[in-house]
């Protein structure tokens, strides 16, 4: 045998071994399966209750992009990012735990900071952003958060850490690789969900050159198994997936560019194998994040700034026809009446104090809310209100839990019991029937 023939046989041998390993990996990938809707295992009680408060009452830092996860014992753990300002190098991922029995939030703790992240990833990290969490099939909590090494938020990638003790301690973070171009521009915001085989669906979005929504499928260890496009072009961000049953889901997306300011929607009827082309919904959207959840009966709930501009109003809306039409169940915040007025810091401080006390009458230091909000929301003697980045989950007891950014300074928490939602759905149905009748009479 000549040297050249020998080399060829060696090359063929290498190719065979390599592709045996490759095909073994490809065929071990889990096949597409049905969605796993949220399981409700206990009844939260018959009383229609709505409870609200602040996750943390200490003044000072900029706080934004909260999320929630239910712990094994029924408590809730919130995550958000906090620092001197959005994008600053001192931003950390913070957390606190809520006990539904006492109705109290525990002390704020740091989950992870930039220095620890970059040491664990063995690469430079410039800033941290949005965190979301989910419980994997093996019971561990998985935290996914945005990290940026290069440029602004468009240069983001996702970093993950896991915890086997419900968030008391965390594994060293590691990076998810989700894009071939320098791994730039994959961000998280939407609530993760499960597939029937225990794999995790993580709604993500891309905002470098194009702005579009995507869906990652991850195994229980956090490895990426698949990535799917939910939209394309330059108009959709921050998808939320509302799983209605094993096969059907509705996706709502933040409107990310000019034109008609409406929430974009898409849907699947075959567990995500195919998605309908994205289209405008009837919900307004001022290029702001939204959230949603599907209740066991098929009713969809969403919380959003249901306005075409600004973020000074926040509402809870519901749809009983799979997302075709929506009606308002509750207005959580509304400061639109003050838009035309130039709010100086003193007037603003009075307003903020009143709003904070309306949320929690027992606040020990409402003035601190005014100082902190003024610091983050007043520029050149002009102040604004902002209620944004809502995040909604339904717990195993059936109650619906909401957190959102309150004037970039605090995280507000609102709890709706199933009975309260059922009551408001009935009332709002009557209201819309009355409105329709009046409209017909006129």
């Amino acid at each position: 045998m000549t040297a050249s023939a020998k080399t060829r046989w060696l090359l063929l041998g290498l190719t065979l071994i390599a592709f045996a390993a490759g095909f073994a990996k490809a065929f071990s990938r889990p096949p597409p399966v049905a969605f796993q809707p949220q399981r409700i295992v206990a009844d939260a009680g018959a009383a229609p209750t709505l409870r609200m408060g602040f996750v943390s009452t200490s003044a000072g830092p900029h706080r934004h992009a909260p999320s929630l996860v239910e712990l094994r014992d029924g408590r809730l753990r919130a995550f958000w990012f906090s620092g001197s300002r959005e994008g600053a190098s001192d931003v950390e991922i913070r957390s606190a735990v809520f006990d539904p029995r006492s109705g109290r939030w525990g002390a704020e703790t740091t989950v992870i900071d930039r220095a620890r992240t970059q040491r664990a990833l063995s690469r430079y990290v410039k800033k941290l952003g949005n965190p979301v969490a989910e419980r994997a099939a093996d019971g561990s909590l998985h935290l996914y958060y945005v990290t940026v090494s290069l440029g602004g938020w468009a240069g983001s990638s996702i970093t993950t850490a896991s915890s086997s003790d419900d968030g008391e301690t965390w594994s060293p973070p590691r990076r998810l690789v989700t894009s071939p171009f320098l791994n730039v521009s994959t961000l998280v915001k939407g609530t993760p969900f499960h597939y029937a085989d225990g794999t995790i669906g993580l709604p993500v979005y891309h905002e470098f050159i194009g702005k579009f929504a995507e869906l990652l499928r991850l195994d229980a260890a956090g490895a990426v198994l698949d990535k799917q496009r939910l939209s394309h072009g330059r108009s959709a961000l921050q998808p939320v997936v509302l799983v209605r049953d094993g096969e059907r889901a509705q996706v709502l997306m933040r409107h990310g560019e000019g034109g008609l300011n409406r929430v974009l929607g898409t849907a699947t009827a075959d567990a995500g194998r195919n998605w309908a082309p994205p289209a405008n919904t009837t919900l307004d959207n001022p290029n702001a994040a939204l959230t949603g959840v599907a209740l066991p009966g098929g009713t969809l709930l969403a919380v959003l700034n249901n306005i075409e501009s600004d973020r000074d109003q926040l509402t809870l809306v519901a749809s009983v026809d799979g997302g075709s039409s929506w009606r308002t169940l509750y207005t959580l915040e509304d400061q639109r009446a003050l838009r035309e007025r130039t709010l100086d810091p003193a007037t603003y401080a009075t307003g903020i104090k009143a709003l904070a006390l309306a949320t929690d009458a027992g606040l020990p230091d409402a003035a601190a809310f005014a100082v902190s909000s003024g610091e983050h929301m007043c520029v050149a003697q002009r102040c604004n209100y902002e209620f944004s980045y809502p995040y909604l989950i339904q717990t195993a007891r059936g109650d619906v839990q909401l957190v959102y950014t309150w004037n970039r300074s605090f995280i507000k928490h609102v709890e709706f019991s199933p009975a309260w939602i059922a009551q408001r759905l009935k009332e709002s149905a009557k209201e819309s029937t009355k409105e329709r009748t009046n409209a017909q009479l006129h």
Partner: protein, 201 residues
């Protein structure tokens, strides 16, 4: 202690920058031994944790890990420099460089949202994509383009074994630096072919 994946990722970056240093030094009149020593020094320097992180970690933050194909080509270039490997003839060079150019043309515009379809998805284990790569690797061997066969095979092997933090085969096959280098090399090989044809007339 960094993980195996991180160590190989950092070493890949350091190797690429050391090779770049050697390439620059080739253009100035210094002895080959001096150039090799300088490249070696750069390699070690980049891996030393001089600041909070090794210097290579700052570059890695921006570029990510280099693909297996890039690392293989760097090793091939080093072997050529040392005189241990004969250069390929021009038509085969064009053929070899055309592959990463075509791959980049299929991958990057779609991954960045140019169309509703995302070709990056194939890299999560689409069997037909692997079959296509197998055909290319066998064709590379048959057509005496061993570098094509070796780089595809090693990339698939590394992906199968889960070498890097990425679970996507594309990240083992190609990276943006390789794509840019391939475009220039392809053009340069085309010019070389054109010139040699003109001279032979």
């Amino acid at each position: 202690m960094p993980s195996f994946t991180d160590l190989t990722g950092l070493a890949g970056i350091a190797l690429a920058l050391a090779a770049l240093c050697a390439l620059v030094l080739r253009r100035v009149p210094v002895a080959q031994r001096v150039a090799a020593s300088a490249a070696g020094f750069v390699f070690v320097l980049l891996l030393l944790p001089l600041a909070e992180l090794p210097l290579a970690a700052y570059v890695r933050g921006m570029t990510g890990d280099l693909s297996i194909s890039t690392l293989l080509l760097l090793a091939y270039a080093a072997a050529q420099q040392a005189g241990g490997w004969p250069p390929q003839d021009v038509p085969r060079r064009i053929g070899a460089w055309l592959l990463p150019v075509l791959a980049a043309a299929v991958l990057y515009p779609l991954a960045l949202g140019a169309a509703p379809y995302d070709s990056y998805r194939w890299g999560y284990g689409e069997p037909w994509f692997l079959a296509l790569l197998l055909a290319l690797a066998v064709a590379g061997t048959a057509l005496r383009m061993p570098l094509v066969a070796v780089s595809i095979s090693l990339a698939v092997l590394a992906w199968g074994l889960g070498w890097y933090e990425s679970g996507n085969l594309w990240d083992y096959l190609i990276d943006p630096l390789l794509a840019i280098y391939a475009v220039f090399s392809c053009l340069s090989a085309c010019f070389a072919l054109h010139r040699s044809r003109q001279l032979s007339r």
